[in-house]
């Protein structure tokens, strides 16, 4: 397991993808801690809710729903908070290990995940209402960028 300081010259598309997904997976913490009293973060337009459009947007929304279910089952806010953090950490460590051992398969999985997220994001659901068009555009651009970088990595690996 590598926790500490990184000294890497080349960061691949999959690395970037892992980082964005990790940050996006932490966004529900805003709902719990930073935005008390503002439930609209997943349903309405707000200044902070634009963050949801910058990350891989389906993930924090689905994660918030999963957290709500966990909250109803356990009744423990502290547990939710640590589950959120530990899940993000576990995802980072697991992705890194998988990228080292199975680089091609893991990159393909990430590419599929981004495509699924695109599809989910385009479904006419209430939660998919864009919070702000510029932010949504940046979010889509970031996703497309990641997808392109992953495709380039895969191409370079096969060449």
């Amino acid at each position: 397991m590598k926790f500490g300081f990184e000294n890497r010259k080349h960061r691949t598309g999959a690395d970037l993808c892992v980082r964005i997904l990790q940050i996006a997976s932490l966004l529900p913490a805003l709902y719990m801690l930073v935005v008390p009293g503002y439930p609209g973060i997943v349903t309405h337009r707000s200044v902070l809710s634009v963050l949801f459009d910058l990350g891989f947007s389906a993930l924090p929304r689905l994660e918030t729903l999963a957290l709500s279910l966990l909250y109803r089952r356990t009744g423990s806010e502290i547990m939710m908070f640590f589950v959120l953090l530990i899940a993000a950490l576990a995802f980072g460590l697991l992705s890194r290990r998988l990228l080292e051992r199975f680089p091609r398969a893991t990159r393909l999985v990430f590419a599929v995940l981004i495509c699924v997220d695109f599809i989910l994001r385009l479904l006419p659901l209430r939660v998919n209402t864009a919070f702000g068009l510029p932010c949504a555009a940046v979010g889509f651009a970031a996703q497309l960028g990641c997808l392109a970088l992953i495709a380039l990595d895969l191409k370079a690996a096969t060449a």
């Binding site: 300081f5 990790q22 008390p36 439930p39 709500s68 909250y71 423990s76 806010e77 953090l85 530990i86």
Partner: protein, 208 residues
């Protein structure tokens, strides 16, 4: 040459450790600071029982006087909105809390011979008896403990259950003899003006 960067995983690990430490310190500080004893003893009308709420002893249903009493059933019970004692059955609210403050309530029936508790309705509050004597409960209630309209945790809690709200979503009428459900009615604003709309009318009038 690239300068070394602190990885996100390392940041998360440090954050988790500091959060755990902070929670521990916060809980300890609150534990030290919150040393005001609370002792409330509320007799239940029509019985020789009372509900005890105390920071020194376990909460629950007691018999006896305020100073000398015996705990018969442990739990956070409440008679503030309405309790009914009919024969050997006692109907009242049983409150549950999450770690940090969302308050939930169940309507329960306690057998006063055996002190066995039966949950009649989950996430509901017993509000009293209507003009014709039936027990009237407000269902789908989430009691935000401190900041009714500003509790994000309440919203998060009810995000995956459309039947939960601060105002309640349903009204239930229970038979006071058997505790059976007689009538239920959906009303998204059920909690508003509850007294005149439900408690001061008979079941027939509400059904009407």
């Amino acid at each position: 040459m690239d300068s070394p960067k602190f990885s996100l995983n390392a940041f998360l690990l440090v954050f988790i450790l500091f959060s755990a430490l902070l929670f521990f310190v916060t809980v300890k500080v609150m534990d030290i600071a919150d040393r005001t004893p609370v002792n409330s003893f509320t007799p239940i009308e029509g019985t020789e029982l009372a509900v005890r709420y105390s920071s020194l002893e376990p909460n629950g249903i007691c018999s006896g006087s305020e100073n000398v009493n015996t705990l018969l059933l442990e739990g956070n019970f409440g008679t503030d909105w309405g309790a009914a004692a009919i024969g050997d059955r006692l109907y009242l609210n049983h409150y549950r809390t999450t770690d940090l403050g969302v308050l939930l309530s169940d309507v329960v029936c306690v057998d006063t011979d055996t002190f066995q508790e039966t949950i009649l309705l989950r996430n509901a509050v017993l509000r009293g008896r209507c003009a014709s004597g039936e027990l009237v409960c407000l269902g789908g209630v989430l009691l935000s403990a401190n900041y009714p309209e500003e509790n994000a945790l309440c919203r998060l809690y009810s995000l995956t259950d459309g039947n939960l709200s601060n105002d309640g979503a349903k009204v239930f009428y229970l038979d006071p003899e058997s505790g059976e459900l007689l009538y239920e009615l959906r009303d998204d604003m059920a909690g508003e003006d509850f007294e005149t709309r439900f408690l001061s009318r008979t079941l027939a009038e509400v059904r009407g």
